[in-house]
């Protein structure tokens, strides 16, 4: 069992939450934090180092890197959040098919997830992008598809537990239709425990999304998505280090904070559930 969180780790969680709030503001209202529009080109100011006018310097087209990093929060987070949503949604549908459909459906879904989980997830995501083609939406779907089998197994496990609970039996005895019992009682009660896992997955999904963009398979230029910016920075390393450093720092800080908050949530949640952990 984990011990009670110390003052230090509580402080860490608070700090992480504060950083995430800042990232959320950047994603929702980038204009509040950015000093320039993300795609304002100014060739006279190209490839400047960090300084008072441009805090993080400028890129080869004279665009302000700080403003692009701020504007990059939205596409980067959307990719991670969208992929997690796709994974939870697809996982829940698969799990419900397994739970509602009886033994044959359950066996088929479970063996399918066996095979998918026995295969490296990133390779699965790459394969989906290969079929659908590069782009923001397709990259989101690809990562969601790679995460879905894990969620399907977890939702199924929870749903099987919930199905045996008294209130579900009561609903069945009262003569509610099967579909109604499953949709109104089993599914809603099987989902909450997964929110913790979903939070932790957002960090991994943001990383996976930025990796796909870095490979040129996600959001396309001139999107200020962090992975795409780093990919451009790779080609400019000979002349400036700024584009290769700042978007990566923003990305890493975001993922570290998501993981810190996610772990804190998990510890609290497991503490409240007897026998879990």
């Amino acid at each position: 069992m984990r011990r009670a969180p110390s003052v230090l780790s509580a402080l860490g969680t608070a700090l992480a939450a504060a950083v995430l709030l800042l990232v959320a503001i950047a994603a929702l209202w980038p204009g509040l934090l950015a000093t320039d529009p993300p795609n304002a080109v100014d060739p006279a100011q190209a490839l400047l180092g960090p300084g008072p006018g441009h805090w993080f310097g400028t890129d080869q087209l004279g665009r302000d890197i700080y403003s692009r990093v701020v504007h990059g929060a939205r596409p980067s987070l959307l990719l991670g959040l969208g992929a997690t949503l796709v994974a939870v949604g697809a996982g829940a549908v698969l799990a419900m098919i397994a739970v509602v459909g009886g033994r044959v459906a359950d066996e088929i879904v479970m063996r399918l997830t066996d095979v998918l989980l026995a295969f490296p997830g990133a390779l699965l995501a790459l394969l989906v992008v290969a079929v659908l083609g590069p782009g923001t939406g397709n990259a989101t779907l690809a990562i969601g598809a790679a995460f879905a089998p894990g969620f399907a197994r977890l939702v199924r496990g929870e749903a099987l537990v919930v199905r045996e609970s008294d209130y579900v039996r009561a609903a069945t005895v009262l003569g509610y239709r099967r579909a109604e019992v499953y949709l109104r009682h089993v599914l809603p009660n099987a989902l909450p425990p997964l929110l913790v896992l979903a939070t932790l997955s957002v960090g991994t999904a943001v990383l996976a999304g930025s990796a796909l963009s870095f490979l040129g398979l996600g959001p396309q230029p001139p999107s200020p998505e962090w992975g795409a910016m780093l990919s451009a920075g790779r080609d400019l390393l000979g002349s400036t280090w700024a584009i290769a450093v700042f978007p990566g720092a923003a990305l890493t800080a975001t993922v570290v904070c998501v993981n810190v908050v996610g772990r804190d949530l998990r510890n609290r949640f497991e503490g409240r559930r007897p026998g879990a952990g």
């Binding site: 699965l124 870095f214 990566g248 993922v255």
Partner: protein, 340 residues
Amino acid sequence: MKHDPDSEPDAEPGAPSAGGPGAPRGGGRAALARWVARRLLLAVVVVLGAATVTFGALRLTPGDPVKVMVGISAAQNPEIVEQARHETGFDRPLAVQYADFLGDLARGDLGWSYQLQESVPTVIGDNLWPTVSLTLAGFALAFLIAVPLAVATAGRRPAWRALSSLLELVTVSIPGFWVGLLLLTFFSFRLHLFPATGGTGLSGLVLPAVTLALGLVGLFTQILRDGMARALDEPFALSARARGTGETAVRLRHALRHALIAISTISGWTVGALLTGAVVVETVFGRPGLGRVLATAIQNRDFPVVTGITIVSGALFTLITLGVDLLYRVVDPRLREAPA
């Protein structure tokens, strides 16, 4: 890139993720044979599944897959398209195509890349060694970093463990391609110690291997440390200490051996992380290899290459995880008895 929630480093460090179904219940050779048979069957299903998915994927692609395959410039010429359609068998019924596909696969014929103008097995053969050397070096390096860290911090003062946990948090949260970029910025462009791109010699291997290794170090350290902490609480550790064996010797000779076995529980995650890490690392460092060929092939929608590399790496992945699981079952008799 790290993936499915099950193998997420946080999920269950101690739980076997590659143990798979069908653990033997009773002891003995028959049970082990049954376990191997089930795992082999699963391996065949996985590879066949991967092959079927790639086959189906190509047919589900929006637009004319033949035009996509021959490339944009050649697609302008209807003669080339029709010839390619006939050569690839796309003009025949789906069931015949599938049977042909499986037959070709059984003969090792993975098709022809229109982008690279080479047969896919040749492409894979030419690029296999750089990737294998990179992943082996990365794996070995991750071990060399994780073992001393775990030996030094297991069961020690909380401050050490906190520091080590912080390191683990950072290594699971930091994108590998950014680590690569930072190393390139500093060591190649500032200090000019290593080649910035395409180095295939030993000096060109250093930075890519370090980048790949850092992605593994966090989870390796965590699992080794947990395994060592458990082993240090066992009666055999106490009896070794009672015999007067020094603390370092207890850790190295007794506890570490047990902890190393714990690493086998994440062999599937490790191989997956190495395979996909290679894609990113080879792209960052401009290194030749299967990963970079795969990334380029996806961008160019060079399907035969994508299909070929997916099937080959899927097969390698299942074979390696099966081999590792089997090896550890032979080495550690307890694993043969215990349900995985």
